[in-house]
Structure formats: structure tokens, C-alpha cells
């Protein structure tokens, strides 16, 4: 009896992994080309931009909040970074892009604290508003035109490497992502600041009573999210070699979806970046597999929606069954 419960528990806890395996097996049977090295590289490349944005989002959600401003951040950081390559060189542009993202995240955090927005609903609307502002600035900045790296006179080799370079079988962006993941997970698990994020998501009142400054933690998670959105944006422009002022559209929902599908509770308090990696993988694989199988775009969108709904339903069931 004890044994069956354990199996059930393991299955329930690793449903995403199970979903990924089933998806891969089905696709590989129908389309054997799915299992080639080329497709592996493909998936790793497509993994790039979303994985960074979703990782940043993970800690906001663990902290019990949500950030819709990643759309605006990705768009704005992208166009600003690309436009700075000519005047200040590629390394400077890269650094400024990351700095801008971090600042935008910090700005979000400070505004939320100043406005006393401490519930998920308030945060939802304020970050949505911030996203519109960032997005509109991006549109004004570029005259709503797409910028192209091919028109630059300075070299942009760093970006080409980040976007399409490879070390062995791995793409440069995935290596950067793994390094970022290790650092941020260490920070989240091993430092006091990191633990406060989970504490804040679990129970704000208790955390405040324990003497922790929740406002600082809130600013911290949004700053992290801004930085990661900027990294995502840089990987994105490096990959496509263009920066569109509306390039961020859709990233907020995909990022939140990756986090939730990965198994981080929307209510906050628990979760991890590693789970999000699985969530991102499922979303990327879903579109890769559907393209391989020749499924139409409309059906792909339905599938994506279904996965999200089922993930949240299973998440609730899992909670009930484990406890």
C-alpha cells in the first residue's frame, strides 16, 4: 500500500517530465527526423529568449507576485541595445542593455512599494501599465520601425555568437543560461535574501513579524526579473539580428505559463528555477513537435491553451492528493 502511494506521488510530482517524454516519443515515431542532432540544436536555439524571461518570472511568482512588464522591457531593451552598438561599440551596448533592464525592473519594484501595491491583482495592473509605458517608449524611440544589425557599421560579433554560436553540441545561449541558472538558484537557496523571497510568497505577515523587510525583497525580485528579461531580449535580438519595438509581445504569457506548467505554485511560496526549465522545454517542444507533425497554427494555439489549463488543474489536484 505504502509503495503504490509513493509511485503515485512520484508520477504526480513529475507530470511535466512525463508529458515531455510522451510528446517526444510520439513525435519521434511519426517523424524520425525529430531525433537528429540538427533538431536538438534547433530546440536549444529556440529555448533561448523565453528561458531567460521565464527564469526571472519564476522568482517574482515564488515571491507571491507577477510581472507583466517583461513585454515592454524586452521590447525596449532590444531596440536600445541594438541602436547603441554603433555609437558605443558592442560590449558597451551589451552592458547598457543589461543595465537598462535591471533599472526598469528596479523602477517597477520601487513604484509598487511606493504605491503600496501588495496584492497580486494590484501588481498585475501596475506592471501592465509599466509595460505599456516601456513599449510605447520603444515605439517612439524607433519610430515604430524594426532595427537591423545588417545596417550597422560597427562589428556585432558578440551578438552573433550569443545568438547562433556553438560550443561543441551546445549553443552559446544555452551555456549562458545554465550559468545564470546555477548562480540564481544558488542565490535563491543558499542566501538569506534568497530565502526571504520564498518567505514573502508564503506568508507576508509572518515574514514581516519576523523582522524581515518585505519591501526590499519585493524590489529585489522585480530587479532580478528586469535583468533576466534584458538577457532574454539580448538573446532574442542576437538570434534574429533585428530588434522590433513590439518584439516582446506574448512573452509575458509564455513566461508565466512556463513557470506554472513547470510546477511553481501561482500562489507563491514554493517553486524553483529548475522546474521552470522543464516548463519552457515543454512549450518549446510543443511548437517544435507540432511543426514537425505539420499541425496547423490554430490547433497549436489550442494545444498551448489546453496545456496551461490542465497544468493548473493538475497542480491543484496534486496539492490535494499529496497533503
Amino acid at each position: 500500500m505504502e509503495k503504490t502511494i509513493n509511485v503515485k506521488k512520484i508520477v504526480l510530482q513529475n507530470l511535466v517530465l512525463l508529458g515531455i517524454i510522451v510528446l517526444c516519443i510520439v513525435t519521434a515515431i511519426v517523424e524520425p527526423l525529430f531525433l537528429t542532432q540538427d533538431n536538438f540544436t534547433n530546440i536549444l536555439r529556440q529555448f533561448g529568449p523565453l528561458s531567460f524571461a521565464a527564469l526571472g518570472m519564476t522568482y517574482v511568482i515564488i515571491g507571491g507576485f507577477i510581472d507583466l512588464s517583461v513585454v515592454g522591457t524586452i521590447s525596449l531593451v532590444g531596440v536600445v541595445t541594438l541602436s547603441l552598438i554603433d555609437p558605443i561599440g558592442q560590449a558597451g551596448a551589451l552592458f547598457c542593455g543589461l543595465l537598462l533592464g535591471t533599472f526598469l525592473g528596479f523602477l517597477n519594484g520601487v513604484i509598487l512599494v511606493k504605491f503600496g501595491a501588495m496584492t497580486q491583482a494590484e501588481v498585475l495592473f501596475i506592471t501592465y501599465g509599466m509595460s505599456s509605458i516601456f513599449g510605447a517608449i520603444a515605439l517612439i524611440y524607433t519610430n515604430s520601425e524594426t532595427e537591423h544589425m545588417s545596417r550597422l557599421s560597427n562589428p556585432y560579433t558578440i551578438f552573433t555568437f550569443i545568438g547562433n554560436g556553438k560550443i561543441g553540441p551546445f549553443t552559446a545561449s544555452i551555456i549562458l543560461f545554465v550559468i545564470a541558472l546555477i548562480i540564481i538558484e544558488w542565490f535563491y537557496r543558499k542566501t538569506l535574501w534568497g530565502r526571504q523571497i520564498a518567505l514573502m510568497g508564503g506568508n507576508k505577515t509572518a515574514a514581516t513579524l519576523c523582522g524581515y523587510n518585505m519591501k526590499k525583497t519585493l524590489v529585489l525580485v522585480y530587479t532580478i526579473c528586469g535583468l533576466f528579461a534584458a538577457m532574454g531580449s539580448i538573446v532574442l535580438i542576437s538570434r534574429v539580428t533585428t530588434a522590433s519595438p513590439v518584439a516582446g509581445a506574448g512573452y509575458e504569457t509564455d513566461a508565466i505559463m512556463s513557470v506554472v506548467v513547470g510546477g511553481t505554485a501561482l500562489a507563491g511560496g514554493t517553486g524553483s528555477g529548475i522546474r521552470t526549465v522543464l516548463g519552457v522545454l515543454l512549450i518549446i517542444l510543443l511548437s517544435n513537435c507540432m511543426n514537425m507533425l505539420g499541425v496547423s497554427t490554430y490547433l497549436q494555439t489550442i494545444m498551448k491553451g489546453l496545456v496551461l489549463v490542465i497544468a493548473i488543474w493538475l497542480d491543484n489536484r496534486k496539492e490535494q492528493q499529496i497533503h
Binding site: 527526423l33 536555439r45 529556440q46 523602477l107 513604484i111 517612439i140 547562433n164 511543426n291 497554427t297
Partner: protein, 346 residues
């Protein structure tokens, strides 16, 4: 220190809010007011010179309400910008509104135009069906109604005075013809569509399908994107490369900036000799044709489209004759003629 930071942030916020207002607001803001001022001065002499009809008699410039489909869309905001410039040259009183891709906002903008006593409304509707009731009201109020880029369906065409646009179905057909011409012995082509369900995507796809009918060209696969995003086009192309590899001889991508992603994907896979056809005629398309990475760019001339719309609106308001349906010819841009055509500004 804290106060300083707060003050700084507040200033930045106010600044960004003000900046945002001028970009995507629903009604006229700063840039227009300056244009209005200038139009009013040059409009008086222009109107007096050219016409002796009722408009000139009243001494007012013709008031044009330009309703943009979505200012966040590159080609649409470019059209709006040149419309503003051309209207100033023609001495028209020009105001633009942004429907931000939303049918409800389009209806609101039309109502505002009626209330403001516009002489003509020129609209590129996000949903041509949804604006019909509002356009009926505008017609009742005696306002000239022009459709830009997307036309109303046939049964509703009585509610508009004229239409100017390029034919997206024709663009698809031209793309098919380009592929047929390049591969007289037949070939394999993949199609990467624009935003799934968007009017232009549907028509370009239909035109392409129609154009290929009866030819010996095989369409290996066709997928649409979630948005007009280069990243989407690139990801789909990468998947196609894995699935079909060297079988792919040609690619039809629905828009030039998407073709940039297609080119990147092909270059990463060392497939440099694939024949790429795309629609739009933006600077990126011209650059790619010049660089030899894109074979054909099927260009729509927005400046001709805008000029025709304003010309028709002016004629309609003045009671002069004009064509009801105006298809603006497409430019077929290839390496042979790219240098002789005017370089696009968007």
C-alpha cells in the same frame, strides 16, 4: 537621499508618460497641433488658388480624420506619418486616431470624427465588418468615407465612397509567379505565413495557392506565425529545415522582416542557395535583395496609396469625380531593378 530618488523617479515617470502620450494616444496631440497650425496657414492660399467651390467658399481647409489600424504596426504608422506630411502639403486639416487593432476603438474614433465635423474619414479597419454601423452613421452625417488598405465586404461597399489599397491576394499571386518563373521545371517550396488569421496573411496565402494552381510547384509545408514576429518565422524555418532539409528549393515568407529570420535560419544551416520571396517592400526587403539573400521582394507603395486616398477624399468632398476602387500597383523588386526604384523609408 530617498527623497531625491523618489523625485528622480517621479520626473522620469512624468517624462515617459508625456512621451507615451504623443506616440499612441487616441486623439490628436502635440505633433498634430503644430501641423494643424502650419496647415491652416498654407491651406488658405492653396484652397483659394485651386478651387472655387463650396469648401473654398466657406474658407476652411478640408478636415480629414485618418484612422490608423495600429500605430504599433510598422507599415501602418509609416503610412500615417506620410499621410500627415502629404496632407500638410495639400493644405488639408489632418488629424489621426489609433484604433490599436481594436474594432471598438475604431467605432469610437469614427464617432469622434462625426462629432468633430470632419469632412472625410479615411480608415484602415482592423475588422472591416465591425465598423459598418459606425460608417453608416458617418455617411448619414454627410461625411465622405474612404477605406485604406483593407476594403469592406461587397454587400457593405455602399457605405463607403472609395477604397485605395494594394491587393494582398495579388501579392500572393505575384509571389507564386516569381517562384514559377525561377523554377520552370518545378520545385519544392515552403510557405511561412504572417500573423495567423490576419487579413493580409489570409489573402497572401490564398493568392499564393491560387497562383500555383496548375503549376508543377509542390508546396511541402505551410505554417503561420502567432504574430508578425521575425523570431516566429525563424523558428518555423528552422523546423522546416530539419524536416525537409535540402528538399527545400524556395521559400515564400509573407513579410520582409520575417524573411530576415528565414535567411538567418538558412545561413545557420549552410543552405545559401534557397530562393526567397517575400512581400512588403520595406527597407529590410530592399537591403536583402541588394545583398542577394532574398531573390524577390513584392513591394507595396504606401506613399502612392496615401496620395491616392487623399486625392480621392479631396475630390469627393469637392464634388469632383474620382475612381471608386483604386488598386495601387505592386513593385516587383529584384536584383535587376532594386537600384532604380526609390529606397523605402520604413
Amino acid at each position: 537621499m530617498k527623497k531625491m530618488i523618489a523625485l528622480l523617479l517621479a520626473t522620469a515617470m512624468v517624462g515617459s508618460l508625456a512621451a507615451c502620450g504623443s506616440g499612441s494616444s487616441d486623439t490628436t496631440t502635440e505633433p498634430e497641433s503644430s501641423t494643424e497650425a502650419s496647415t491652416q496657414t498654407d491651406s488658405t492660399d492653396a484652397a483659394e488658388e485651386t478651387t472655387g467651390d463650396d469648401t473654398a467658399a466657406s474658407g476652411d481647409a478640408i478636415k480629414i480624420g485618418w484612422i490608423v489600424q495600429d500605430m504599433a504596426n510598422e507599415s501602418q504608422s509609416y503610412s500615417c506619418r506620410i499621410a500627415e506630411e502629404q496632407a500638410a502639403q495639400l493644405g488639408l486639416d489632418f488629424t489621426y486616431y489609433d484604433q490599436a487593432g481594436d474594432a471598438q476603438k475604431a467605432t469610437d474614433a469614427i464617432s469622434t470624427c462625426i462629432a468633430q465635423g470632419m469632412d472625410a474619414i479615411i480608415i484602415n479597419p482592423a475588422d472591416p465588418q465591425a465598423v459598418v454601423p459606425a460608417l453608416m452613421e458617418a455617411k448619414d452625417a454627410g461625411i465622405v468615407v474612404g477605406l485604406f488598405s483593407s476594403d469592406l465586404s461587397e454587400e457593405n461597399q455602399q457605405y463607403r465612397d472609395f477604397f485605395c489599397g494594394t491587393n494582398d491576394t495579388m501579392a500572393g499571386e505575384e509571389a507564386a509567379q516569381a517562384v514559377i518563373d525561377a523554377f520552370p521545371d518545378g520545385c519544392n517550396v515552403v510557405e511561412i505565413g504572417g500573423q495567423s488569421g490576419h487579413d493580409a496573411q489570409v489573402k497572401r496565402h490564398d493568392g499564393f495557392e491560387k497562383g500555383l494552381e496548375g503549376s508543377n510547384i509542390t508546396v511541402l509545408d505551410s505554417q503561420n506565425c502567432d504574430a508578425w514576429a521575425t523570431e516566429d518565422a525563424m523558428a518555423i524555418m528552422e523546423d522546416f529545415i530539419v524536416k525537409y532539409g535540402d528538399q527545400i528549393d524556395a521559400v515564400f515568407c509573407h513579410w520582409d522582416n520575417g524573411a530576415t529570420g528565414v535567411i538567418n535560419a538558412l545561413q545557420n544551416a549552410n543552405m545559401e542557395d534557397v530562393y526567397i520571396v517575400a512581400v512588403d517592400g520595406c527597407a529590410a526587403g530592399y537591403d536583402q535583395v541588394k545583398a542577394g539573400t532574398q531573390a524577390v521582394c513584392i513591394g507595396q507603395s504606401f506613399s502612392n496609396m496615401v496620395a491616392k486616398s487623399l486625392e480621392c477624399a479631396q475630390a469627393a468632398v469637392n464634388g469632383e469625380s474620382y475612381e471608386e476602387i483604386n488598386w495601387i500597383p505592386l513593385d516587383i523588386v529584384t536584383a535587376d531593378n532594386v537600384d532604380s526604384l526609390p529606397y523605402p523609408e520604413w
